[in-house]
Symmetry: C2
Subunit: 203 residues, 2 copies
């Protein structure tokens, strides 16, 4: 059986939980509290040298990290991952967009404002720029979703799961999604698929 | 023929140029100067709504963006991409590591210090933390390379190309790699494969 090391408030972890649930893959959940540094211990660094959750231990005992790589691994050959080369590349395009242009702004601001007791002076200074870039990412999504029901190939898949993870809790970072009707409509479509897998609002 | 929109000083663009060269794929190069905002024009945003290079126009006229998604697309089915599911996931693991834990620190600091005339006060404040996280990424690489000749499966491939792009010009951002002997030895091995494809030091 696989073991998932995770922090329940993490959107990155949520992606993995969602895919495991969709594919009915059994796993053991081991929580690691990132607020207490539990992914930076010498013991944890032997599992993931980058000291982050989610980290998945496969049945052969080896470890895989990076949420989007993990869900790619789990979903290959299933209906969640495209069989077509061009659609696979487009799925990865949105998954890399998420990690580079979306997560560092929307997820980071949510983490600061929702999980930290108080922002540092540097975080306070960075906040407006991070919010602006988060809204820019939402703008790119809004534009794409004006022409597409789902991100790739007209059907629910890994790109949607990846982008949904932190978009659906963006409000916890103070993002106002009222001006993104296409994003809201897409979130409702994704939620119908996502079902009951939960993201913990606050650990 | 494919068309690559690129900025010659970009390590992300360099990845794509390197893979195109390795696979002997002909393409037209169209330069866009990011220092003059040439990827944020209304015309360019119709190619890539996220306003970034590299952006590749495929032979069917459609566009693909995100460097790591582009090189994945180009390399699928070649010796640069693993045929094995587990090795594919590991390749993506390092490619997502690069975009999340490496590029925002090593590439961004290089861009600030090498291409900008002067840092803003906020950039000055962010600099020490960005350098620290860049060195942390190099530390993760150093550890992995102590046990492996290349990042995945014992042979040169996409993960190496991705991580080499900004590591081999990290010095331009002020990073001192003297304490990373394994990274240096790996860079020499990668350079032997990379050949003559160039990254423009300053456009």
């Amino acid at each position: 059986m696989m073991t998932l090391y995770d922090f329940m408030g993490s959107g990155n972890g949520y992606k993995v939980r969602l895919v495991l649930d969709h594919l009915s893959l059994p796993y053991t959940l081991v929580e690691r509290d990132i607020l207490k540094g539990e992914t930076r211990t010498p013991e944890f660094l032997t599992k993931n040298p980058n000291g982050r959750i989610p980290t998945l231990q496969l049945e052969d005992g080896s470890f895989l990290f990076e949420s989007n790589a993990i869900i790619w691994y789990l979903a290959e050959g299933t209906k969640l991952a495209p069989a077509d080369r061009r659609a696979r590349a487009e799925t990865l395009q949105w998954m890399f967009f998420e990690q580079y242009s979306h997560e560092p702004y929307i997820a980071t601001v949510r983490f600061w404002k929702h999980f930290l007791p108080k922002l540092t002076p540097l975080q306070e200074m960075e906040l407006p720029g991070r919010m602006e870039k988060g809204y820019a990412a939402l703008g790119v999504m809004e534009q794409h979703l004006g022409r597409h029901q789902f991100f790739v190939g007209g059907q629910y898949g890994l790109a949607d799961i990846t982008l949904y993870a932190y978009t659906h809790v963006a409000g916890e970072g103070g993002f106002n999604l009222d001006n993104f009707p296409q994003v809201n409509a897409w979130m409702a479509r994704v939620a119908a698929h996502a079902g009951n897998v939960f993201i913990d609002r606050k650990n």
